[in-house]
Amino acid sequence: MHDKHARPLPSLSPAGALPRAGGALRGLPRLGMWLALLAGTAGLHAQSAPPTAQRQQELVRMVRQDCGSCHGLRLTGGLGPALTREALADKPLDSMVATIYHGRPGTPMAPWKAMLSEADALWIARQLFAGFPESEKGRP
């Protein structure tokens, strides 16, 4: 029961300690991508076009509502950790982007790459570090 705590980096997780057989299968390929992305985010920053204004609105709603399932509508945390500006103050931006895009093996944090581009993930991470905007009051 002592091997399930979220570690600072998945690279510190021995494969045997990953949470289940499927989890190991899920975690290992992602680990490689996670590290590759971590190493390559400098390039990502340079080449990504930021999301359009409309996409940004969609992303704000998605983060508030769907990420809010675990992190809270106000991003003050739940099963997932708090994502307020204060809570993220000492976290590196790159690992945040990687976590959003590739998930975090061994924790409930899923990879969102099926629904987000890397540029989307970067934009979301930057907004989180700056204090995430409120949803538009108007209806979609």
Binding site: M1, K4, H5, P19, R20, A21, G22, G23, L25, R26, Q65, D66, G68, S69, C70, G72, L73, R74, T76, G77, G78, L79, G103, G106, P108, A110, P111, W112, A114, M115, S135, R139, P140
Partner: protein, 402 residues
């Protein structure tokens, strides 16, 4: 403006919601409320606005909106045994006691930094909150919301676990699971001043939610960290944990889980229980006598709620993003999906009327609750409610584990 007039406009325009909310929430506003019972009442959480809509399932209408409930993301509700009061557990750690008849907040307490839900004792005297921060449960007098007991989920010195899967059990006991400690605890509150807690360690990795079967005998915790569920037979003299449905993923790569399934509100139909798989687009079917898997039903996405109609003939399933525009219906006599509905965008919750002739479904992004006939699948009514999430009817008051 007359109250009645205001309510009749609710369905027509969302712009009036704010006005009606302040009317219903202001002191003295509901001056001449009709005499009524509570058996056909319920509440719908409008989570983005911190509002609770009081609804009537016979009229299929919103009766009032109660404002000022704080952060209602992941809010859940239990009812007093007379069905008059709703206890709303908010994310921000608040418990709000709402009187469905006077349509007002009767008591409110901030009891934690981050909360996930609660339960009420069978005798109706105690409400219990399960908290993430600080991890543990807290027990309150159901009449006054005065604190009766505080039980930190301290599994190692100085370490508190987030608590999930709290259920009420017969005999003033409550069972709950410790996400961070891989444990199930059972606390006897016969004397709230001296709680007695039985701790079951090593139940499996990362329990994320749990249920108790309708007879109060079996407590089942879903595990996020491994394929399988942990089950306790509470009728044993010394309850122990056994694994059920071990390895249901069969080593295959799991699909992303964009939202945790909810187990509360058992789906037990006949002698079968229907459970959401984690990381697989399947509903698992287990025999409740042998606890062996007897089938699995492919569904349209990661199941979130798997709920039996009260008579057990159907099981309704909704899904995590991005498949949450669908709802599927399983016929429990054939184990086949007999209907796929698309009631709206971002379906978050479903609630059956007491005898199950209708189901109410919340569509968050369409700001709509749909009332659907469970025989014909026809939409019987729609109600305009801002970003609706959880729907809770007073019939829960009479059901163990709801």
């Amino acid at each position: 403006m007359k109250r009645r007039h205001c309510l009749s406009l609710l369905g027509a325009s969302s712009l009036l919601l704010g006005g009606c909310a302040s009317l219903a929430g202001s002191p003295g506003a509901p001056a001449a409320l009709p005499l009524r019972g509570t058996g056909d009442l319920g509440v719908v959480v409008a989570r983005a606005t911190g509002t609770l809509a009081i609804v009537n399932t016979s009229e299929r209408a919103v009766l009032a909106q109660v404002t000022g409930l704080g952060d209602l993301s992941h809010a859940s509700v239990v009812f007093s045994r007379d069905g008059r009061h709703a206890y709303v557990f908010g994310r921000d750690g608040a418990i709000t006691k709402v009187d469905l008849l006077t349509q007002r907040i009767e008591a409110r307490v901030m009891q934690a930094g981050n909360s996930i839900g609660g339960a009420i004792s069978a005798d109706g005297t105690m409400v219990v909150a399960q908290n993430y921060t600080p991890g543990g449960i807290k027990v309150f007098d159901a009449a006054t919301l005065a604190l009766l007991a505080d039980i930190p989920a301290e599994y190692e010195p100085g370490k508190l676990s987030r608590v999930v899967g709290l259920v009420d059990l017969p005999g003033r006991r409550f069972a709950y699971s410790l996400f961070d400690a891989n444990a199930i605890w059972i606390t006897d509150l016969s004397n709230p001043a001296r709680p007695v807690t039985t701790r079951l360690p090593d139940i499996g990795k990362q329990p994320y939610d749990a249920l108790v079967t309708p007879n109060g005998r079996h407590y089942i915790a879903g595990l996020f960290g491994e394929d399988g569920l942990a089950m306790v037979d509470l009728w044993e003299d010394k309850p122990s944990v056994r694994r059920i449905l071990a390895g249901y993923g069969r080593g295959q790569e799991p699909l992303p889980v964009y939202k945790m399934p909810h187990l509360r509100g058992w789906a037990v139909a006949g002698r079968r229980a229907y459970l959401p798989a984690i990381g697989r687009h399947e509903v698992l079917v287990v025999d409740t006598d042998t606890w062996q898997e007897v089938g699995r039903i492919p569904v349209a996405g990661q199941p979130v709620f798997v709920m039996a109609r009260p008579d057990g003939r159907q099981v309704w399933v909704n899904f995590a993003v991005p498949d949450y525009h669908r709802v599927q219906v399983i016929d429990t006599t054939t184990q086949q999906i007999v209907r796929t509905l698309e009631p709206g965008k971002a379906v978050l919750h479903m609630e059956f009327t007491p005898r199950g002739e209708s189901v109410w479904i919340s569509s968050r992004d369409d700001h709509r609750v749909s009332v659907i006939d469970t025989q014909t699948f026809a939409t019987q009514a729609t109600l305009a409610i801002d970003s609706p999430s959880g729907i809770f009817f007073t019939s829960r008051a009479a059901r163990l584990g709801f």
